[in-house]
Symmetry: C2
């Protein structure tokens, strides 16, 4: 499937075949490609919590406005990020680069994030957005549908998955075999409403 086909076909699907399972190979393909999504300074700050346990799915559904896709989708990933990834052995992110690149970049990582928790949080949200689109488009190519979700109680879901202290949740992603067409796109803005050239007008 071409990229443009996948982008055009991807919709947030809420109804999945609860009996369908991804093969191990399909899940591996998803995750291998997830890991190729970009992160600033290559800090790879995303952490993927895969929920396979039925009781835990049920508990998360209760914390997510009872949305059926939480239980019915073949895969439920809680997309998390480590706000302190930048300071945890950052040499590993550049270990294969030439020494002069390592010498320049590794210290720059701490300079960028140190004492700036909002910047580290922004980075987590960005990284998870980037990786989720990778995952959704690869899922589309594999014949699956997906649903990105932030309609849930973040604190409760954090408790259910044992979210570590340094981590935060960005959002969740359900992936599976869609069984019902989504409604037509409900109200896309024209490009002129969201694209500006060179400088925003003072009145914006």
């Amino acid at each position: 499937m071409t990229v443009t086909d996948a982008v055009e076909r991807r919709r947030a699907v809420k109804w999945f075949d609860p009996h369908h399972r991804l093969s191990d190979g399909e899940f591996a393909t998803l995750m291998e490609h997830a890991l190729l999504s970009p992160t600033a300074f290559n800090i790879q700050n995303w952490r993927f919590l895969r929920v396979t346990d039925a009781a835990r799915r049920k508990a998360i559904r209760a914390a997510a406005w009872d949305q059926a896709q939480v239980e019915d989708a073949s895969e439920l990933l809680v997309l998390c990020f480590d706000c302190k990834a930048w300071e945890k052995d950052p040499n590993r992110y550049w270990r294969l680069a030439p020494q002069e690149v390592q010498d320049f970049l590794v210290p720059a990582i701490a300079d960028y994030y140190r004492d700036k928790p909002q910047i580290a949080r922004d980075e987590g949200m960005r990284s998870c957005g980037l990786v989720a689109q990778n995952l959704m488009l690869v899922a589309q190519q594999l014949g699956y549908e997906s649903c990105p979700m932030d309609g849930f109680d973040y604190t409760k879901v954090g408790e259910i998955i044992g979210l570590p202290e340094d981590y935060d949740i960005a959002f969740m992603l359900a992936i599976g075999k869609g069984i019902k067409d989504p409604w037509p796109r409900p109200g896309q803005l024209p490009l002129a409403d969201v694209l500006v050239e060179n400088r925003f007008a003072a009145a914006d």
Copy 2:
């Protein structure tokens, strides 16, 4: 180009042919597909600032650690978001949905974001991450390379582009004809370091 090919080939490229221009059709293809990326509640909170003016590119480069791709790439998009998109005529995001869907969803938008500026900011970073991956993969299919960037002075770039009060910058994206292979991937983490099943261990 298939999705998986595009994901595998995409790298952060820093060296672009400064003489190459995208055709109007190519740019339109990029943006049409950008607008198909998902946003929570369909609020379409991204705003795209396209920098075509050479003097402005030069000024942004000076605010971005003198990185050459800012001036050399065919396209430079500053990915912004409107933190108040949720309250600006939200009916438009659901105007084509059945009335009962509108009646349920439109009030839920304000309930989700009202008096929660951090949540609105998180949403902007997520939305821009999602749309940027769409843009980068479509660019790959069109034969282009890209570079997502957050190594710049956000305040200065905001001044250069006249960032409106309700807006924030998520990051920038350079797109163009790559002229030099990027270095090999510098240190990808193994999947086992970032994927956890059902619950994080207490020691994480």
